[in-house]
Symmetry: C2
């Protein structure tokens, strides 16, 4: 078959122009006589690639100068440990507030508890199966906390923060793996932002970390791979970084810039999500488990009137070139992940297919 | 220019047939309609890719059934921490022996000391600038050690263990980043083997860990990304693995198998290294800082009679399509890294160039 529309939650669709360029440069990158994969990370050619990637991250996100930009390994899960390792100096007295909005928040909490005792849950929506995001008023924040942790978008449950919590002077730490660079953001409201790349940034295997400089270097003797200070001092070159993944991330950001940057992405993302939610809500056949005001623009779970039709839906969708639509087992039904790289035509094709399927099975 | 012979110490040259296949499959992997980079790590297609990579690792290395094969992130540096985290249960009483054969051994020691106090150096060749490997007789091993750690090949200093230390019943842990799969090996002599991929296995961003099952699960409450037990239970899918890097690693191993596996690689590697060392030794113009019996087959440092000629050598070599030959600052001069993927013609071309350069400048 030709290229499909891939609604995977991550790793996820990449812009085809990025893949074509990676293909064309694979065996001989810009007349260097070698692949990017083969380059010493300290070569002039590669140093230019990583510097450009960092510059694009800074430009597209509007990152203030007092933040470090790091390319790390281990995904968000590694950051679940790295954040407390760097911020908690006295595990017996310090505490942190976690906002629990789904599976990834829960994992972050579980990992934090291995590092220190006083992991407080400042709010949770578990009682409604994470179908909504707590409001600012619902956050029971402790002003003595060392930091507040949040998950800005919940891949599995299909919810998203549409506001940035006010945490006063307490640093806000955000796992933005699944909605980074999909919407405008005031980085200065955050102490640490991290994101596994495999949704909106590029391939899996690289994690973007943006960390304010006063949060770096609080603790000594950390393992090198979890030490923001050591990583910042060596500009992510403390050991061999995931060079090829960073190269692709750079290409994705170049593509994003050429499309008009985050503002343009946000406009399209709002339109794509609105279309799909409208089609679901207008139908008596499809349903969406999430509460309207908390709905994610990135991950859209939906159910069929009759679960017995799920298998036929998935099979026929695949036949129409619409793949990886099966929902997560915690929610059931379907899930369409429509990150930046999902073209609007992909959403249109999905909606057409859904309407057609409803006509035949409704 | 066309493809060059790239003598980089890592990331390093890959077989051109692997790169060509990656290029051809980049936009549409085997009629799936998507790139491997875009695949859900839990998709059927991707599960087949990672299963094949593991099967090839097991086959080519001859790994006994009581060993886990893990694909991890963070490079050897992450393992410097992960090994003691998994093996040392009581940091105040347990000890381990480290054999110090160069920069990477020293880093391993430094990271281990952050985890527990009794890090013993069982042997070192630092007094001769790591130009040789200690013999079995020189190892002052403590039979009460929890483990013995070694670096099997020293990328910077150009030395290699040509024997496997006898550690009795104490588990032997080996950093094999720079010579894994370059020579036959009895895996059952080791407790843990780990290797960053970017020298003999594939691109940077994935670390191969082979761990005997009795060394897994000794400690509870470890951070997930450093917990061999959790990683083994989830078959390296505890979170999103570096999917594309593992795919390329699989292609490299397929290539290796098609060439006759490790035995064939070892024969060629012996021949390539012997040629280059002979050319150096036969010349009055080039010198090699390493002692003959400890010389690495993978990384060959050499000096010119006159350091003032280094810049001209590098520039003219580059003109002849021979690149990344500059030596590490700890040793000086030149370094030719000739891993499995460096074809014999590359070594021949280097030797011709060196002889020509000597005629003109000797």
């Amino acid at each position: 078959m030709g290229r499909v529309f891939n609604f995977s939650a991550g790793p996820a669709a990449l812009p085809v122009s990025v893949l074509e360029r990676a293909r064309d440069e694979m065996v001989d990158y810009q007349n260097s006589g070698m692949s990017v994969m083969e380059m010493s990370h300290r070569s002039k050619e590669y140093m230019a690639i990583i510097a450009k990637a960092e510059a694009l991250v800074r430009k597209l996100m509007g990152i203030p100068k007092n933040y470090h930009v790091l390319f790390q390994q281990g995904g968000a899960t590694m950051q679940f440990t790295t954040v407390p390792m760097n911020l908690i100096s006295d595990p017996s007295t310090q505490s942190a507030d976690y906002i629990n909005t789904g599976s990834w928040s829960k994992k972050a909490i579980k990992e934090a508890k291995k590092q220190f005792a006083n992991v407080r849950v400042a709010a949770t929506s578990e009682e409604v199966n994470f179908s909504r995001i707590p409001t600012q008023d619902e956050l029971k924040l402790n002003p003595e906390s060392t930091y507040v942790h949040m998950t800005t978008n919940n891949t599995i449950f299909g919810t998203e923060f549409h506001y940035t919590p006010d945490t006063g002077s307490v640093p806000l730490v955000a796992d933005m793996s699944s909605n980074i660079l999909s919407r405008k953001l005031d980085v200065s409201r955050f102490g640490i932002i991290y994101a596994g790349a495999q949704k909106n940034l590029g391939p899996s295997g690289v994690t973007l970390v943006v960390v304010r400089d006063d949060l770096v270097g609080r603790n000594d003797g950390l393992p090198l791979m979890a030490d923001y200070k050591a990583q910042a001092e060596k500009e992510s070159m403390l050991n061999t970084p995931p060079t090829y993944a960073i190269y692709i991330l750079g290409l994705v950001l170049e593509w994003m810039e050429s499309k008009g940057g985050v503002e343009a992405m946000e406009k399209i993302n709002i339109r794509k999500a609105a279309k799909l939610y409208s089609a679901i809500d207008a139908s008596g056949f499809y349903g969406c488990p999430t509460q309207v005001e908390s709905r994610s623009r990135m991950n859209i779970p939906f159910t069929l009137k009759d679960d017995g039709l799920n298998a036929a839906f998935l099979e026929q969708a695949k036949g129409a070139g619409l793949v990886t639509l099966k929902g997560h087992r915690s929610v059931g039904g379907m899930r369409a992940s429509i990150y930046n790289a999902m073209p609007e035509e992909g959403v249109d094709a999905l909606i057409s297919f859904m309407q057609d399927f409803e006509r035949k099975n409704g």
